[in-house]
Symmetry: C2
Subunit: 338 residues, 2 copies
DNA sequence: CTGCAAAATGTAACCGATAACATCTTTTAC
DNA sequence: GTAAAAGATGTTATCGGTTACATTTTGCAG
């Protein structure tokens, strides 16, 4: 790999001239420019951008902390991040952290060690060392999707509580009174918020909250299936199951069908995320649409603003949701079943 | 951010001693070591790894060219790559190339410009500039999943032809004679190979190939749905539809159900990839399992071998597939329908 | 043709670490 | 006690660019 010095020698100029030819061509005379260009072409010179980044102190790299890249929803967010980053000349370093605090702390060190400029965190966890907490300055991080409550991070989120409330209201309006909820992991604020929205709606409708209708899941198909198994075995089973994501909803639908029950005839099912598969499920799944790509895009743009000092105070962007009504939800069965 | 010089000053030693304290502690006396460590702790010194990488000429970064990160199968491959890379001290720079040659060429430049050490390409395209083609040396690239025929790239693949043949034989053994195939994009070698396997099986069984039963798709749910729409409208419709991936199969199933036909009673459907959703489909999908994570893992390991000069000649790794028989395929309907 | 401003180009410090080599100090052996 | 070996530490060039500042060349007015 040839260096700028070799190019300079071959063109019979100084390294500064070569650098200028590349950076500010108008500061170099046309003759010289041509000569330098020839040398560059001949040697196949490619500037070592590692050297440039080292000197400039800017890496143009953003780190994305993703709990699971093999997740349909996150994949869309990643797509959004990747595209926004690329369009602004940044690279996206993707980390599959499996929601592990230690791994995330290690990833955050990429920033400390000047290997990356900033972090986009999709989980509610601050990976920066506690001593960095002291400072009032904005840390070079943006929190998206599942947000942590820290005033120093710009965040991109969705009103999960309102969304869950809206979906629950949809179910209530269909006559459902025993509505189960399949939650995500306890540790996730998303779960807390969506559960709160569910409770809001029940209370507003004067319905009581039945603990036995709350099931824990982990956002996987299998956990939705398991949750449904539990719910169907209840002496007084629910007429609707609201799952905190589409994967669990599809897992639950599988179980309900296997049990010989009809959806939505016997049991209505609702999800959250509106992944591509949900429109093709049997029956097509009623769910909450989230602008996943936009989450990623917005997060990246916010982070770049922080890095450029454009954002002085951490702001919170709330993206819109939409209730998508499909055929998996319908009128509650008559009381004969209850 | 403090530098090694500041640490040296505070500890009253030279920069070399600080460097040694970090790299080869046994070459430094215990007293000094303690003093240096104190200075490091006090200043919160973190070595600038950008400087290290610049000097060493190794970035410890691998670039992954992924056609679509928002794809369930690729997401698994990415997971495998990410984990293998991390365990060997490499970072994975993920690029969502949308199968665009130009974007991929740009990504390959990351290697030229010393921003990355190597490339993992999941698509059949050589992103390196033609002039680099001249050399006999192995380019720092590994080709996985969909492979290009170039002797200089180690490759990780699956015998797609044999897999498609096996699936087609499964359908034939169930009595199917009119078996449709929903292909991927024309440009994809995967499509060519899977189609060849399908034809192999038909020929071996003495069946003729009916062009009207071949549909083009693009690996999306929607294209599977469209293909099924076309196939169902044929005057002499097929009794089985073999889709080149699970997404298309699930799209096709949706259409078949909507048409009021039974799966597999009227039409059997088979996919390829064994994504998580296929086990939860209605009915659960018969498909070919590919070790997706292993694809990623193997590709990364091969690439690191190339980078370390351990691999002298490009090798080809063929991973195993497995026919997963579920309920979406069954005996062909009696000739009453045909 | 001279003089001076503007344009073009060159010189060298710098970014932050590493490591070869030089130098200084402490053991060890006789 | 001293020489040689071993151990500890320091000095400095280096990686490949960028850029402030210095210097040279060019252009144009007078």
């Amino acid at each position: 790999m040839s260096t700028i010095r070799e190019v300079a020698d071959r063109a019979g100029v100084s390294v500064a001239t070569v650098s200028r030819t590349l950076q500010q061509p108008d500061r170099v005379s046309p003759k010289t420019r041509v000569r330098v260009q020839e040398a560059i072409d001949h040697l196949g010179y490619k500037p070592n951008l590692m050297a440039v980044k080292f000197r400039s102190g800017k890496t143009q790299v953003l780190v994305a902390l993703v709990p699971t890249v093999a997740n349909v929803f996150f994949a869309r967010v990643i797509k959004g991040m990747q595209e926004a980053a690329a369009s602004q000349g940044y690279s996206l370093l993707l980390m599959n952290t499996m929601g592990n605090d230690e791994i995330e702390r290690n990833c955050a060190k990429l920033v400390d060690t000047s290997q990356a400029d900033g972090v986009i965190q999709l989980r509610a966890f601050n990976p920066f060392a506690p001593d960095q907490f002291q400072s009032e300055a904005l840390l070079p991080m943006v929190n998206a999707c599942e947000i942590v409550d820290d005033a120093r991070f710009p965040t991109v989120t969705l009103d999960n509580r309102a969304a869950a409330k809206a979906m629950t209201e949809h179910l209530i309006s269909l006559g459902h009174r025993r509505i189960a909820m399949v939650k995500g992991p306890q540790s996730s604020p998303l779960t807390r918020d969506r559960l709160a929205g569910y409770e809001d709606a029940l209370k507003a409708a004067g319905l009581s909250i039945d603990e036995s209708l709350l099931c824990a899941g982990d956002f996987t198909l299998a956990s939705g299936y398991r949750a449904a198994t539990t719910l169907l075995s209840l002496p007084n089973r629910p007429t609707a199951i609201f799952c905190e994501n589409d994967e669990m909803a599809m897992g639950a639908m599988r179980k309900v069908r296997e049990a010989g029950l009809s959806i939505p005839g016997d049991i209505s099912i609702a999800g959250f995320d509106n992944i591509a598969f949900s429109a093709y499920a049997e029956p097509p799944l009623t769910t909450i649409a989230q602008p996943a790509e936009e989450f990623g895009e917005t997060a990246v743009n916010l982070l770049i603003d922080v890095l450029n000092g454009k954002t002085k105070r951490a702001i919170k962007v709330i993206l819109p949701f939409e209730v998508i009504t499909r055929q998996s939800t319908g009128p509650a069965p008559t009381t004969a079943n209850l």
